[in-house]
Subunit: 299 residues, 4 copies
Amino acid sequence: LYPSLRGYIDAVFCAPELETLAECDVVFFATPNGTAMLLAEQLLARGVKVIDLSADFRLQNVQDWEHWYGMTHTCPDLIREAVYGLPEVNRDAIKNARLLACPGCYPTAVQLGFLPLIENGLADIQHLIADVKSGVSGAGRKAELATLMSETGESFKAYAVSGHRHLPEIAQGLSLVAGKSVGLTFVPHLTPMIRGIHATLYAQSEASLNELQALYEQRYQNEAFVDVLPQNSHPDTRNVRGSNNCQISLHQPQGGKTIVVLSVIDNLVKGAAGQAVQNMNLMFGLQEELGLKIVALYP
Amino acid sequence: LYPSLRGYIDAVFCAPELETLAECDVVFFATPNGTAMLLAEQLLARGVKVIDLSADFRLQNVQDWEHWYGMTHTCPDLIREAVYGLPEVNRDAIKNARLLACPGCYPTAVQLGFLPLIENGLADIQHLIADVKSGVSGAGRKAELATLMSETGESFKAYAVSGHRHLPEIAQGLSLVAGKSVGLTFVPHLTPMIRGIHATLYAQSEASLNELQALYEQRYQNEAFVDVLPQNSHPDTRNVRGSNNCQISLHQPQGGKTIVVLSVIDNLVKGAAGQAVQNMNLMFGLQEELGLKIVALYP
Amino acid sequence: LYPSLRGYIDAVFCAPELETLAECDVVFFATPNGTAMLLAEQLLARGVKVIDLSADFRLQNVQDWEHWYGMTHTCPDLIREAVYGLPEVNRDAIKNARLLACPGCYPTAVQLGFLPLIENGLADIQHLIADVKSGVSGAGRKAELATLMSETGESFKAYAVSGHRHLPEIAQGLSLVAGKSVGLTFVPHLTPMIRGIHATLYAQSEASLNELQALYEQRYQNEAFVDVLPQNSHPDTRNVRGSNNCQISLHQPQGGKTIVVLSVIDNLVKGAAGQAVQNMNLMFGLQEELGLKIVALYP
Amino acid sequence: LYPSLRGYIDAVFCAPELETLAECDVVFFATPNGTAMLLAEQLLARGVKVIDLSADFRLQNVQDWEHWYGMTHTCPDLIREAVYGLPEVNRDAIKNARLLACPGCYPTAVQLGFLPLIENGLADIQHLIADVKSGVSGAGRKAELATLMSETGESFKAYAVSGHRHLPEIAQGLSLVAGKSVGLTFVPHLTPMIRGIHATLYAQSEASLNELQALYEQRYQNEAFVDVLPQNSHPDTRNVRGSNNCQISLHQPQGGKTIVVLSVIDNLVKGAAGQAVQNMNLMFGLQEELGLKIVALYP
């Protein structure tokens, strides 16, 4: 199935049965939504830690979850225990988590870009805009017309403008930080490439660009995977392709009150598998960067 | 040079000398900025109409032009005479124009998307945001590192966030319509495809989506090249690839006050050569759609 | 379904029932293999001409067809009547056809490239090689993992090297021209683009390049859709993107006995819909180029 | 210059002066052709080993080199000493080399694919065909019209069919192995992706596929970077993207005498920088795989 792994790995697929899984230290769920919640309780009861890359435990409000995901949650009690796995926000809680909900790809890029502004009360949180562009691998490996190369190549479009499942997740994260509910317009787009997310974020702020640049650099100076670029930078998504990094840059066009934050990640790494490993490292007391100091493939 | 034209055209290139050009009814300048202004005056004096696809006559304010384009304008007096060639706004003036300034690609997509909102005073014009994505052909056919396939393929980036030459052009157009100066944040991006512009526009408005949908449909109902899609639509840039069309759709996420307008064109057609022909048709009393009823190449 | 056609066409889809179809002058089948054969007989009996873009009537040998397409043919008697729709070979027969089998995309590019060599007995027909590269739209608009952008973008591969359905079709066509069975190695490849086929053909020949160049130019001089390029040319597939043209060039590396023919088409036009219309024009006594003098979209 | 390396490397560029370079153990030349030959002699005299990724020392015949590269060689005497750095052929010589000529990208893919056939006298060496497809990064990072995304995206073409600089290099390598001059037709193509080479090789052989499969597996069983796939495989270039691997598969269409070998590499790794490091490891007595056990980025 993965011919690129020939010679590196000789693991074989096996059926995901409880008894087999129960022998593991940790189980990663990279499964369709609604799958992890069926097994999580039993695994936790057997002492197995659970890292869920799907959306089952991302939203604290069950009604919201059921509304956006269109199914009944089978273990709502576990939601309260689940820790949202954005290490740059929740590192301590992650270290003690048994059940971890990995953030979605869009939410990772958007939250990392907005965080310092909102933590410091420097933005009008009622008028946040996130215009975000994703490569097509964000849709997963499913046989669908919409993600055929003939449909997505050489074309660009927005989708789900009236409401995307990642909207409540981002709003929840930012509201927790702000201490009150934020007003967010989130517009996702599909761009004709495989990997990468580019978030272009707009906020109204009274702060100067120099202040904000200093603030962002300070906020992330000890973060291994978040890199604030010098002023006047424009990160390409390829800067982080294949790596667990997020690159961020700040702009204040025409010296006005609209701050523009650019935030890029690889949706399959910092936006998915890489962040899951980062969380595992924290949960097991390992060095946070273990296995993740991978340089982007460039070009 | 253009092997796709073998068998269709047997025209040959010739040196662009005044005497030769003076025999034409109209001269199109698809030249680097600063070229058309050197010949325009003489051609007009010889009774030749001039259609400039470069930026030489787009900005009414000479100081602005010289600031953004970094050179001295050689015929500032002609600027006043030049007509800005956006037929959906200036049709009557275009019909009588001798010297026509074709709009840039970004300005075409952005202005068509914002126009009905602003003409009707339905948006907070101090907080307009245009997040726009362009295919790489927008940079022209120049040998440059930045637009190599190895540099732009499989990657996405913003550029010129602190200020792009199309910003004053868009602001000029919208301000004329609004009757006062608008506040616009314009962020251009490069997307890994050849043709196409996708503008995602944000405005604060008290109007309802239904009102706005009706307004847009009415505003453009007699326009041959602007198509307002039904509610809940998301235009792909490929819908207009190779055609002179602009497709527009409207959204009001979560029923809030932020209106999202999606506007797509082919930057090489409605954003350049197609619009130039549309203007020529108007200037010479021809049918406006002549030579332009081309269906997009899809997929 | 085709947003690019908004404003151009107001036709609606209807169920393909016999009574409805029987009122037409001609029915095009752009259907999965095995569909046209179910309706063709009845339509012909009602006086309707049939143009099949699928493979149902391409192979004269029923056993071969059933072997390669894995089903039983429901009207083998009609196969003998069907005319193979390559106008450059079968123009007269096409004019009188009631039932027309449109060639596949690979077979069109390969046969047009080899024809003059083989018609004139100038190649060793036991050792022909066709190394052919196709854009992903050749696979049709089906929801399949293999043609997702994440699977086919930024990658190149051969497929079906041990045997592809177009092999017997090409061999049949070339053998008919040669007057005896040819030996052909055909290797198809998938290239990361949407439209276009590039055939690189290898044949052993005693003829000189100048002779062959003259021969090819003469052979195709009256063909509206086949263009033999000057010596030392290398046709890009984009030269014919969106057009019904085939561009061909000839090379004789190092003056040796291996002739290399390059032949490009748009698989969706000359390789499918365009050629079907060309055939219709011939069948109904219309001008052959009607509706087909479309310039390629470049770039 | 390489924003992907921020945080990983703090090396700075410096002028390539002899005194500075002379303090190194080894100097890699990733320079335009004609550069390494100007400094190599002096560096060797100072005890510095030289690994040249350009073509200066690849061809043993100086006249050939001067013909294909269009300049006079400044140190023809060194050519004899230079070792051709294809470890799978020259491992022992490489271990003792002072001056190493790294193979070109096309020659690496083609030679590895043909080697076992030719070493064992199992092919008609007068009629070898190499139909090879490369991503655009093969052209290097130069500002040129021909490799702009608008020129190479969504299109496929052959180039240099009448003669490419890598032809004499491949022919030299295969002739050395065969013990006599080979007859090779080499056709390079440009495919619209960034990285990757796919060689489709054709040879006439009396051997059976099973024999050849066994032979290839045995020939490469101890090679860390050459992987012979099971029968009926078709390697994608993405299987090796970013890695130093070469994947090879064998086919014998219709059980005939034409053997088809598929060979893929990443032109920037096994076809350039990766192979250079592999050679350095051998020259310095290090473990051959050091720094090179990188898994491909997939997808």
